[in-house]
């Protein structure tokens, strides 16, 4: 069977694939896989359309401006991030999988089928997620995978903290009974 049309691959094989992808990003592109920097810089880029000086005067966004022109910079990682959903979409289409989800089954079991409540929770989760990522200096890709493979002290500290906190939060939200709904 054509592997491209298979719905799921062995997770170990995918892990090896992502590892090999990182060889290429490090060795050829001189970049490390990461996503949250782009997501944090995007609001700055949008505000920069109407108030460029305001953005240039913010010490956080100033880090992401092109040094010479003092302007926002659409870099390698920006194009990586906008291509991610396309890659996932291609994966789904090739395998003929049909998937649409507004309220996950586990969530509906615990908090009901309301889309509004689920979207509000997802929104709040996103806010918390990015604040944590930027505070720590990276997310699951930049810290977790890229930092982990570089044996970075910061990244392994982040990895254990986020995993532990995720487990505690998940059990606080769904309890032991939640385990039978995933």
């Amino acid at each position: 069977m054509n592997p491209l049309t298979r719905q799921r691959w062995n997770p170990y094989l995918v892990g090896i694939g992502i590892g090999i992808l990182s060889w290429i990003t490090f060795g050829v592109m001189h970049k490390a896989l990461g996503t949250s920097t782009t997501i944090a810089a995007t609001p700055g880029a949008i505000i920069g359309i109407v108030a460029p000086e305001h953005v240039q005067n913010n010490s956080y966004w100033a880090k992401y401006l092109n040094a010479e022109k003092n302007e926002f910079y659409f870099d390698w990682q920006f194009f990586l991030v906008i291509s991610l959903p396309i890659g996932a979409y291609i994966g789904m289409k090739l395998s003929g999988e049909k998937f649409k989800e507004s309220v996950p089954a586990l969530w509906a079991w615990r908090f009901g089928p309301s889309k509004t409540i689920r979207y509000a929770a997802a929104f709040l989760g996103g806010v918390i997620l990015l604040i944590g990522a930027r505070m720590a200096g990276g997310c699951t890709s930049g810290h977790g995978i890229s930092g982990g493979l570089q044996l970075a002290v910061s990244s392994w500290a982040f990895f254990f903290a986020m995993f532990g906190s995720g487990v505690v939060t998940a059990f606080a939200l769904f309890g032991l009974k939640g385990r039978s709904h995933v």
Binding site: F26, A40, F72, M135, M162
Partner: protein, 199 residues
């Protein structure tokens, strides 16, 4: 007002994103059920993918460096208080949203509509952080700073090899052994066919 990376880097970025997104989908980690399944210790796909990627990546990257290939590393500063506090906050957000930033963006592509609300939230989180940053940049963000002497220069962008003055290969070997034990336990726990079914 805006400028772009070189055309080559743009193409590299697009290719990397397409392959990364495709692979995340194939593992099923673009799904809420898979991420929550991991945090609830029901589905171990996330751990399998991440640990295998880290071990494979480490062998290749450190191997290429050992063979004399020269390319920059991208190590983030070891300021342990924000690394750990940020990680704890991140974990809460990840369990609530059901995605991390990368898998969340990818999930929009393969049908998770609530991930769009999550991405909008992430933008707002980035916005809030940009305004909080100036007041924490010199205090909190520098706390727990772990600087060591690396090749005659004090730096906090450090690896376990820098801290211990041991070869990185000791740590890579350790990672291989730990991963093998963890994977062995997982497979024993979940049987031959772990639940990696699409939701």
């Amino acid at each position: 007002m805006y400028n772009f990376d070189s055309p080559v880097m743009i193409v590299y970025g697009i290719l990397t994103g397409l392959i990364f997104g495709f692979l995340l989908h194939k593992a099923g980690v673009t799904r809420y059920q898979t991420i929550l399944g991991q945090f609830l210790f029901k589905d171990y796909t996330v751990l399998k993918v991440m640990l295998t990627a880290i071990v494979t990546g480490a062998i290749g990257i450190w191997g290429m460096r050992s063979m004399g290939m020269d390319f920059p590393m991208h190590i983030k500063a070891a300021t342990l208080v924000p690394n750990i506090v940020g990680g704890l906050i991140f974990g809460v957000g990840m369990a609530l949203l059901g995605f991390c930033p990368g898998t969340g963006v990818a999930a929009i592509g393969d049908g998770s509509r609530h991930a769009i609300a999550g991405l909008l939230g992430m933008f707002v989180g980035g916005l809030i952080y940009a305004y909080v940053y100036p007041s924490i940049m010199n205090g909190f963000l520098k706390s727990g700073d772990l600087s060591v002497d690396v090749a005659g220069k004090m730096t906090d962008k450090i690896t376990f090899a820098d801290v211990s003055h041991l070869s990185p290969w000791w740590f890579i070997a350790g990672l291989v052994v730990i991963s093998a034990v963890v994977f062995g336990l997982i497979e024993k726990l979940t049987g031959k066919n772990p639940p990696t079914t699409p939701a």
